[in-house]
């Protein structure tokens, strides 16, 4: 999918430029944008180094686990098919917490572990279970507390208040997550009515 969009933007751009005489601008854009990409990433180093350093302390000291136990009761309500003591629940909770703190790289392996456990719970079938769909809904709606990369890029472009979007982000995230859970429930009951679950 992303392949098609990427190629389409480039090819349509070049063809459009050929028809409208803007080829010199396109030529410039290639080199300027490439340079922009590199400088932007170099600018990200500062905040990523700092934040991931901080999060490593939180991880080692057990603070993340503490947060997890805080969210466990809420999360287990969303997964009625998963026993509270089951390892799946543990992975689901840690994955959600990692996502909240912007630790995408740490979240992915935990998410895969959670899926493995959920598959076991579902008798190793290759069909997505109810809990799997809920877990996916939670993940794609993305509970974020601190959007580090976005803050870093805002700084790079001289925002007067790079972090001012944190509050709104949390509000919007709450909306999307609630919506995701409700939509997920809606589809579940629809499947149930049709006798497919």
């Amino acid at each position: 999918m992303v392949n098609i969009i990427w190629v389409a933007m480039l090819v349509v751009g070049i063809v459009y430029a050929a028809c409208n005489g803007t080829m010199d601008k396109v030529n410039q854009a290639v080199f300027n944008s490439a340079e922009e990409g590199v400088t932007l990433c170099l600018g990200l180093i500062s905040i990523l180094v700092f934040w991931l350093g901080m999060m490593r302390i939180a991880e080692k000291s057990g603070l993340l686990t503490k947060f997890s136990s805080l969210f466990r009761p809420i999360l287990s309500k969303l997964f009625p098919d998963v026993p509270t003591k089951h390892p799946a629940m543990g992975y689901i909770v840690s994955n959600t917490i990692a996502n909240m703190f912007g630790l995408g790289n740490a979240a992915t392996p935990l998410g895969i572990k959670a899926m493995e456990q959920l598959k076991k719970l579902n008798g190793n079938k290759n069909v997505a279970s109810r809990s799997m769909i809920t877990f996916l809904a939670l993940n794609t709606s993305g509970l974020t507390l601190v959007p580090t990369t976005v803050i870093a890029i805002r700084m790079k472009y001289h925002s007067a208040a790079p972090t001012e979007i944190v509050g709104v982000t949390i509000l919007v995230t709450i909306c999307t997550t609630t919506a995701a859970v409700l939509i997920d429930r809606f589809f579940y009951y629809r499947r149930k009515r049709k006798g497919r679950e």
């Binding site: 751009g13 990433c41 895969i112 899926m115 993305g142 790079p162 509050g167 999307t176």
Partner: protein, 177 residues
């Protein structure tokens, strides 16, 4: 609204304070641990480079050729009915498909319209508040061999739509347009 603004300023320093106090209390070698974790941040930033360069060049060519303005001007009157700024459309489309691709488009928007403009704030919020639906779906289900994904994609994409709509509403409410 004042609470939201205050929250934005306070949350990061408070988290930092909490992490450091808790780490010291638990007897963690805080500084060494910080340095160790920080190294990962460096390699993470470097690993994003090819994604961002690829996406920024594509969007740069598309914009410089004039094709983007043509497309945006065509859909503008239609979107205006619903109060959706057309500038945000490319980001809203890419967001569920590629996280780093969306990051590239967001950076481009921040550069074009400045981060503190309506579009800049909207793009930042949209980028931060949802995750890459297709990526999560492919990676998580792919890794454990789930072939029948049921309603997962529908749920994810509908939630993304809610994300776009609520971003527009909240950013307009809190910062004004």
């Amino acid at each position: 609204m004042a609470i939201i603004t205050a929250l934005s300023i306070w949350i990061i320093p408070i988290l930092i304070g909490m992490i450091l106090v808790h780490g010291t209390y638990k007897g963690i070698p805080t500084y060494e641990t910080f340095v160790d974790g920080g190294k990962e941040g460096f390699s993470m930033a470097i690993s994003i480079i090819p994604y961002l360069v690829g996406m920024l060049v594509a969007i740069g060519v598309f914009r410089a050729s004039g094709a983007m303005d043509m497309v945006l001007n065509t859909i503008k009157p239609f979107l205006a009915i619903f109060g959706v700024p057309s500038e945000i459309v490319p980001l809203a489309i890419i967001r569920p498909i590629s996280g780093t691709g969306a990051l590239g488009i967001m950076s481009d928007l921040l550069k074009q319209y400045t981060p503190d403009s309506f579009i800049g704030r909207l793009a930042s919020t949209l980028q931060s508040s949802t995750d890459t639906t297709f990526y999560v779906l492919t990676v998580y289900f792919g890794a454990v061999g789930i072939h029948k994904t049921g309603d997962a994609l529908k749920v994810g994409l509908l939630a993304d739509c809610v994300g776009v709509i609520s971003s527009i509403i909240f950013v307009s409410l809190i910062f004004g347009r």
